[in-house]
């Protein structure tokens, strides 16, 4: 599983990356693999509040509906509109073009995991 060292991770398989004063969030390589081909993405409205561990949007594969939760508190300032027509970007490039939202907020005090911690968690989960 691909777990980039420079990202922070939520326990429900989101990643967060600091880009200036916003945090980009998406789902991990492991999460997209579990979900299967994403065929539909429902994103939050720009301006909506993001709250730790609460639903930020929905991802659907052919088989299942899956919520994705926010790894931090803040305000949604941008969403990845490309996903409306190309939801498969979540599978093909989960840490790049498959990002989900940009949130204005901070992960300084958050309880996010680093890459090692997240790797250990998914290894424990899959055994």
């Amino acid at each position: 599983m691909n777990v980039p060292a420079d990202l922070k991770y939520g326990r429900t398989h989101e990643w967060a990356r600091v880009e200036g004063d916003v945090i980009v969030v998406g789902i991990t390589h492991y999460a997209q693999d579990q979900l299967g081909e994403v065929v539909y993405v429902e994103l939050p409205d720009v301006g909506a509040a993001a709250t730790v561990a609460e639903e930020l949007g929905t991802l659907e594969s052919v088989k299942a509906v899956s919520e994705f939760t926010s790894p931090l508190d803040g305000e949604v300032v941008e969403v990845n509109e490309r996903l409306e027509d190309e939801p498969n970007l979540v599978n093909e490039d989960p840490y790049g073009d498959g990002w989900l939202a940009k949130v204005k907020g901070s992960i300084e005090d958050s309880e996010l995991l680093d890459a090692d911690g997240y790797t250990a968690m998914i290894e424990a989960e899959s055994t």
Binding site: G36, E37, V39, Y40, E42, T58, E60, S61, V62, K63, V65, E84
Partner: protein, 370 residues
């Protein structure tokens, strides 16, 4: 909870990387690598399914034919030995106990292939009825049989070198006893995908070798092992009903658009009077296919509304998904008859939001149309 059962092919699924889930009391693979790839493999090349969870119930004895006619809404009087026929097992209310495939092995021997989730219920229902009939024995042999389905346009080409009979002689909805990979098997030209294909019944002990041999023969030709996920999307696109979703003990075959399995020129049978009345008086509701107009995917159980302000749902989505072949969100729902005309718009509630859908013809996919 009781421990889920394993089919004779459990080890093969794990070896092939199957993601195992519980379904109808069995541990079965929902997918191996990718649902969409498996789905497409069946439409364009071939797929191999373990359907050993399906039940096999035999009706035997001098009264077997009359008994099958009594419990089924279809007419089996024209069946010759070696033919299979789809039908509904009926409750007195004209609703489904189950939907099954009847195979005629002999004048006094019929095999009913039933849904795994209904197997125990069916066997008990049939046994109770048989107790009042002369010369009828009901025997549930589900645990003794494995069943593999090889489906797709290349199914025949892949299976032929492994089979002792000439598969090109085997017409749709016929079966023969033959040898497959050197093992005695019942080979039926039936399936649940909308493609050409075969269902191969073997003893449990033979199943792993048959599975491995078909996989080895088929993989170079594009065959993939296919899981329950693709089985569901394939049957859905092909307009084949799923018991527990699209049909159940509250729906009649006429409402489900299965009027072609309801026969009235066959004498009396369970549920006949209700079905006859429904046919004469007309239906209140009907199962229709729909396509989403707004964004969103309707799923099993989502409520549907005829008018925007309606608070009471008019029905619910019985099956719905994103169709891998057609690339759009489709569904099935029971709607009041006045709303079932092609093009009629209604709405589906998807996570507290109402999204517009419109009635379209079914089946969504037919290999003849493509």
């Amino acid at each position: 909870m009781t421990q889920p059962k394993r089919t004779a092919l459990y080890g093969e699924h794990v070896a092939a990387g199957g993601r195992m889930v519980e379904f109808a009391g069995f541990e079965l693979p929902v997918q191996y690598s990718s649902l969409a790839q498996e789905h497409t493999a069946v439409r364009t090349h071939a797929g191999l399914f373990d359907v050993s969870h399906m039940g096999e119930i035999f009706i035997t004895g001098s009264g077997a034919f009359d008994f099958v006619q009594l419990v089924s809404c279809n007419d089996h009087s024209k069946m010759t030995v070696g033919r299979a026929q789809y039908t509904g097992l009926m409750y007195p209310q004209g609703t489904f106990v189950d939907d099954v495939l009847v195979h005629k092995l002999a004048d006094d021997n019929y095999l009913l292939v039933v849904n795994a989730a209904n197997r125990a219920k069916d066997a008990a229902y049939l046994a109770e009825l048989a107790a009042d009939c002369d010369g009828v024995e009901v025997r549930d042999e589900s645990d003794d049989w494995a069943q593999l389905a090889i489906q797709g346009p290349l199914a025949g080409e892949i299976l032929q070198p492994l089979a002792s009979n000439d598969l090109s002689e085997l017409k749709y909805y016929r079966f023969v006893f033959a040898e497959v990979c050197g093992h005695r098997a019942m080979v039926a030209r039936t399936g649940y995908t909308g493609e050409d294909g075969f269902e191969v019944y073997t003893a449990n002990e033979a199943a792993p070798e048959v599975w491995r041999t078909i996989l080895a023969e088929g993989r170079p030709k594009g065959l993939l092992p296919t899981g329950l996920g693709a089985r569901d999307t394939l049957r859905f696109e092909a307009g084949m009903s799923l018991y527990g979703n699209d049909i159940d003990d509250t729906t009649t075959p006429l409402e489900a658009g299965l009027g072609w399995i309801v026969k009235f020129k066959k004498g009396d049978y369970i549920g006949r009077d209700i079905l006859e009345r429904q046919k004469e008086e007309g239906l209140d509701r009907k199962l229709i296919g729909f396509e989403m107009v707004d964004r969103g995917i309707a799923r099993h159980g989502y409520p549907v509304f005829l008018a925007e302000g309606d608070e009471e749902p008019a029905g619910h989505c019985t099956s719905g998904t994103f169709s891998p072949t057609l690339g759009k969100a489709l569904g099935l729902a029971y709607l009041p008859l006045e709303a079932t005309e092609e093009g009629t718009e209604f709405s589906v509630e998807i996570r507290n939001r109402r999204a517009t859908a419109k009635v379209v013809p079914t089946p969504f996919y037919s290999r003849k149309k493509m």
